[in-house]
Amino acid sequence: MLTKLALAGVKNRRRDYLVLLAGLTMSAAIFYMFANLATNQAFIKANAVIKSASVVFGFGAVLLALITIVYIMYANSFLLSMRQHDYGLFMMLGAKRRRVGQLVFLETLILGTIATVIGIVLGIVVSKFLVGFLLDQLGLHLSHLASFYLPAILFTAVLYIGLFILASLFNLTRLMRTTVQQLLHADQQANQPKSRPLRQFIGGLVGIGLLAVGYWAMAAIEHLQMTAIPLALVTITLGTYLLFHAAVLAVIRGLRHTKWAKKHLNGFLMGQLNFRVHDYTRMLTIVSLLFAMALGAITVGSGYHRQMPMTADSLGAYTVAVHDANAHQKHLINQLHVAHQATYTQKVQGKTTYYNAAELKTQPFQQIKSLQSSPNGKPQFYTESLAKFKKDGVTQLDFIMLNPNKLGDFAAPKIVSAAAFKQLKGTTYRVTTVRVKHMADDMAVLKQLDRSEQHRFPQASTQLTIGTYQSFEMMNGIFGGLEFIGYFLGIAFLAMLASCLMFKILSGAPGDLRRYTMLNKIGVRRGLMRASLAKEIGILFAIPGIMGVIDVLFGLQMFKPLMAKPMSPYLGIGTTFAIFIGLYVIYYVITLGLYLNLVMPREVVRD
């Protein structure tokens, strides 16, 4: 009988359960996808060339696990808030506590298990498509990426089911301790925060101190090594919570007695915020962390994406060098945005490559200045007189490597007079060097050109060509994994952020529906109600957004060692921030629309 009643209760709140299930499923799917990447040894060995990349993978997984724990706690409290009234009612009607307890335990566990199973399946499916799509978009190639990986499945299942068992036990003890009366009226209880200004002030100060420690830890990652991330995570979380708590209460207290608060619905808004401040600060802390991590991850990802070609631009004097360009290659070169192009005749005897001095005189070989001497960090190019070039220019790697052997065996190149060059025997080549304006603009054509050159000179032992495009490809191999993790985690955190807010909103809706119905009855204009809701939800979005941006600005320090000069984690973040904030605002508008739909009293229709 009781089971039947419980099922009926679930049926009545289908929509809420669906949201909860969807959120949990999504979280499990995301976790699986990441666990798949993080634990797949073959994949890591093949792609994470540098040690720090695999460290990042590991930390990514730990971070995601921590977030998942918090997330499940949050979802669980949503579940409990949804159900406690029903449970209270059952007990009041005479159901035994133990029996209701069993019900709570089972319900939580069943919901969790369903979410985990669907989530893993979803994760496998999405891995197959999304990951491939993302890699494609980014122009990356990561080998050994399988969508189905048993250890990851087990890892996800164990973590999630374990967490749900804990959550069930938590709900059980919670229920056993609360009185029926409290359960029945939980949503109407006013837990008015006690105002202890001094304590809150101290709390705020401690919060700021903790934040400072966290920000310092991130900047000092090279020094602190492995301890930096957990230290920052703990201090920033606690610091954010304390700061929000103190600041929100102080602001409300300050505003509540002003004239402003006595106009229109402002007082109501303040009351709402004050009323829910405990509840809100917890949520705001989580959301601000998620915001920071999503934005941070995407910033780092896009930072690599944008800056790798830029960095490559500054690594050498030419982007590609083509020997005896064929018609197809000439055609490709014509499509490039050429900044500088030169062609030299080479004669090769054994390992030595000879150049014609006359050619080098009329068309001096361009060299790149070292970045340190460049004022604005942009690469600068120069030429020198032939005499000077003979002395030191010929020893430059850029020039040496123009030999047709590419990276094969070679000796120092020699420059001889036009007459002597003519006399020389040996195979003749004509090498064309091309430097494009910005590598980022010519990626596709450069890739084709590079491939065709590789194809024509397979003897180049390591399958490498020369020029800065080749350097870019190598960097891509090294940092591409980081770029991918950045985007992946960014999207994952953003999705979690979205569903966290969704939980918050839905769990607040029944109470707000009641409040706004009352306001409607006493004659509050609809426009005023809408504005009040827009403000309240706007504040909920704005606070973590602002805090998140600050977190990221400091947090990017962490990536300085991984983005060595001329790359910088801060370069060009404006666009990324703008796009991200744009998305966030769109999400705000959607959420607001949804919420208005849920809580605004129906308008009286006139015909």
């Binding site: 006013a190 402002n266 109501f268 009351g271 004050n274 009855k521 006493i522 004659g523 609809r526 009286v604």
Partner: protein, 251 residues
Amino acid sequence: MTNAVVDVHHLEKTYGKAGERPYTALKDLNFSVAEGEFVGIMGASGSGKTTLLNMLSTLDTPTKGDVIVNGHDVTKMRSNQLSDFRAQEVGFIFQDFNLLESLTAEENIGLPLALQGTASKVMDQAIHAVAETLSITDLLKKYPAQLSGGQKQRVAAARAIVHQPSILMGDEPTGALDSTSARELLDLLTTINRDQHMSVLLVTHDPFSASFCQRILFIKDGQIGSELNRGDLDRKDFYQQVLTELGTFSE
């Protein structure tokens, strides 16, 4: 009756959307309330009392007929006008108080004034004046959760009259109160009616509450079935009369 606060002509309300079986809750209903009058509306459960009050307070719209409150034809009003009308002309006391639990008693009471943009000094004065009348001055800083049912209803009454509406309406305001609190509230309503000449329209099924009114309308089958005038009777005698009327009325 020249100075009618409420004037209802040929009011009809039919529930049910297209496709559903329509149900006519009120049918050709006529009555009026004079300025300063204390009128009760009685009737069996489901007879249409709440429906009528919802029409008067513009929370719902009639299917046919005119409803004129303090000179405004409420059936002609649109969205914002309706809200403003409720905010300015009507004071409403609900059975379940309808206080906002996130606001203190004081802030709850001030809400109708805040909506009209009243200056904060004027507002404070008005709040303290009604609080005095209703003996809730020492409750002002408390939150609804810290108040008893009777105290909550007095706060709600204060909110309903703080902006001097032209009519005070109550839908079973004593329904959730014990007899002492109910009596206190009814005494207060009588005082307000007498001292401030505020018209009161009270929906109730309880003869005791009804006996505080000057005139009682009995609704039956969506129409005014009969009417009872207190005249110069004292409350106890009127109470007897109400009981008798109910006895015959329900037959």
